[in-house]
């Protein structure tokens, strides 16, 4: 199933709805990287709340997405990693590297707004 991507102001929100196959994840990557340019977005939030598994492929792909979006000039936030998923990731030694995370969508949006505010002030 393709992950729907919503545009909200300067941000994109990819809200994962169900378990993802490897192919779905790669579609998500391609869609997000393309849309960041099309909508001139400053940030993308990937909501993984419904995922009950983040295996090595998922983690690697999410890291890749964040890196590609950074190269396109925007920021990526992963939100909604469940406690049991976090537990399994740590046991497995999977890390998201320097990808920013937030508790949930609300925190994620607040973070991006804060960043935008800070860069505006910095620019003045």
């Amino acid at each position: 199933m393709r992950v729907p991507i919503l545009k909200q102001g300067y941000y994109l929100i990819a809200s994962i709805q169900s378990a993802l196959s490897d192919e779905d994840l790669l579609h998500l990557r391609d869609d997000l990287v393309e849309r960041v340019g099309r909508y001139r977005s400053r940030g993308a939030i990937i909501d993984v709340t419904v995922l009950d598994v983040m295996d090595s492929f998922a983690v690697r792909t999410l890291r890749g997405i964040a890196h590609m979006i950074r190269l396109r000039g925007a920021q990526t936030l992963i939100v909604g990693i469940q406690p049991e998923v976090a537990f399994a990731m740590v046991q497995l030694g999977l890390t998201l590297g320097d990808v920013t995370t937030a508790l949930d969508l609300e925190e994620g949006l607040a973070y991006l707004n804060q960043q935008a505010e800070a860069s505006r002030q910095h620019g003045e």
Binding site: S21, V53, S56
Partner: protein
């Protein structure tokens, strides 16, 4: 090549008549099928919470290893019993090239593939029993067990 065992495992008795799920692994979509079947079985057995996530993740990684190193194989999921404990038995087997150096393969951070799989050490940390038998040109069988609490 010599077989190597990392866990001495006693024979576990499996109650007769219990269904076993065999999931063939030949494409990436089978990974999702395998872990969903495994999760469902684990729930039936009585696992809950983070155990379900751990079991699904382990199945995902083992199935991924099959695809990456052997192209095809199967994941067999079944109920295990040892004394009064019940658990899930996950067998991932393939007829691939086998693992040349098992000791190395069990070291953190070691990979001969594209590094897509997560490595067996991570899987071993997540389960109670871990057993691997690999023979060059014949294939690899990984058997893991997790007991319900």
């Amino acid at each position: 090549m010599a077989n190597e065992k990392f866990v001495n495992h006693q024979e576990d008795t499996v109650p007769p008549g219990l269904t076993q799920a065999v999931v063939p692994v030949t494409s990436a979509s089978d990974i999702v099928t395998a872990r969903q079947r495994g999760r469902a079985l684990a729930e039936q057995i009585g696992f809950a919470g983070s155990d379900l996530t751990v079991i699904a993740t382990v199945i995902s990684e083992l199935a991924r290893n099959i695809l990456e190193y052997a192209k095809s194989g199967e994941v067999v999921l079944s109920l295990g019993q040892r004394g009064s404990r019940v658990g899930i038995v996950i067998v991932a087997r393939d007829r691939g090239p086998g693992i040349p150096d098992l000791t190395k393969a069990m070291q953190d951070g070691y990979t001969t593939g594209r590094g897509l799989g997560l490595g067996l050490p991570g899987v071993r940390r997540l389960v109670d029993d871990f057993d691997i038998v690999s023979e060059l040109q014949k294939g690899t069988t990984v058997t893991v067990k997790k007991w319900a609490h």
